[in-house]
Symmetry: D2
Subunit: 133 residues, 4 copies
């Protein structure tokens, strides 16, 4: 989102890794949105009973991405240890959700799109975690 | 976000107002992100003591936008009455936050950007609310 | 929760309606928890395909209750107009979810418990809204 | 909350560690509520400029606790690997927030109460993480 970069550009304090940070924040919001939409699309499928695990993992991944996006935006009190722990959880959530969605991506276009958003978020969080180390 | 439109395009059920809905969902996420970033930028200003009301309203507006985005994405069980009530709350939250941020937008670029995101979300939610009526 | 009352007791500013406020905050958290659990229990039922609307409304109500709880806790910048709009949305969400859950409360104990939590939250939010008016 | 135990008691599937799980879920909600209230109380203090780090960490910990509570409630698709990663992040967030709040708990009663809620949540999440291993 343009607003993420614009906000980081006028941030009153110093910021390391401005571009990697912006990419990770946007990836978290995009993934949260993809997971919410995938869970809801699964609920609308006739085969919903076969998609129960996908729905649950989608909702888990959405919750974790919303929290991670919230923590990453909050740079005034950024704590590298806390940020690293949250990024690690987000990488695991995105990886788990991508694996699940990929397993039936050929049957459901929403799972294919969701898996791709999860992989982008997983990579963006890993890139930021590498910078922190 | 591209992902919002892509997900609505492959939604298994029928959807009225697809374009107006996509615009409102994206506006909620953008506004949530702008409000989070503005609250944090305010916390980083030396004049933080003068920005306490702005921080609180930013955080309120963020919470309401996250909830509204969540409800709007969930089309499998969409209830017009519930959706309308949430849109009304979001319009009020965005309008209140835009008023607050505009009142010191000339001093803080982050408040100017946040106010604009709030106005966009207010208008997108109003457009969707009009369609529901 | 004891912590809600304890926190309000040591709040640095003035607070009107301290007891009604504490009851509403706790009811929002309880209802959010009940709705999350009911959605998940529905996903675990063999008859999940018949419970799709219940799951969606549960998730909507949870999102709205989390946002409402967040706004109510934030008294430093409380804006009566914004608070009233959010309470109105929460009352509608809780009422809609209670109606849905009550309609099959005789078949699913989790829906019965969830409906009761929704009614308590609906009443607590209405009591607070009355104080604001 | 009574509702947590009641909901787990009528869960349609099998559940390991029912009591440890209920304690962790309630601790996450309590900690989220304490952190939200502490951040807001800090914003109401005259010395708000000295409490900027506390506010930011409070908000981080609240976001992580809300996500963790959401994941723990969702047992229909529980993934031990994902749950463990989220618990680890929550333990770090609670520990960081408790350390921060304890450092000025003698000056602010809300920080003392918040630190205690964070420690309870840290311990409850660790107990559950131990069961998963």
């Amino acid at each position: 989102m343009t607003v993420t970069q614009d906000m980081l550009d006028c941030y009153p304090g110093e910021l390391a890794n401005r571009q990697v940070l912006a990419t990770a924040i946007d990836a978290c919001y995009e993934c949260a949105q993809a997971c919410s939409a995938c869970a809801d699309a699964c609920l609308s499928e006739e085969s919903v009973a076969d998609l129960v695990r996908c729905i649950g993992i989608d909702l888990d991944c959405r919750d974790v991405c919303v929290a991670t996006g919230g923590v990453l935006v909050r740079q005034s009190a950024a704590d590298d240890n806390l940020t690293a722990a949250v990024l690690a959880a987000c990488i695991t959530a995105c990886s788990t959700c991508a694996d699940e969605c990929e397993s039936h991506a050929d049957m459901h276009e929403h799972c294919r799109i969701c898996a791709e958003a999860c992989r982008r978020c997983q990579q963006a969080c890993r890139a930021l975690l590498t910078e922190l180390a």
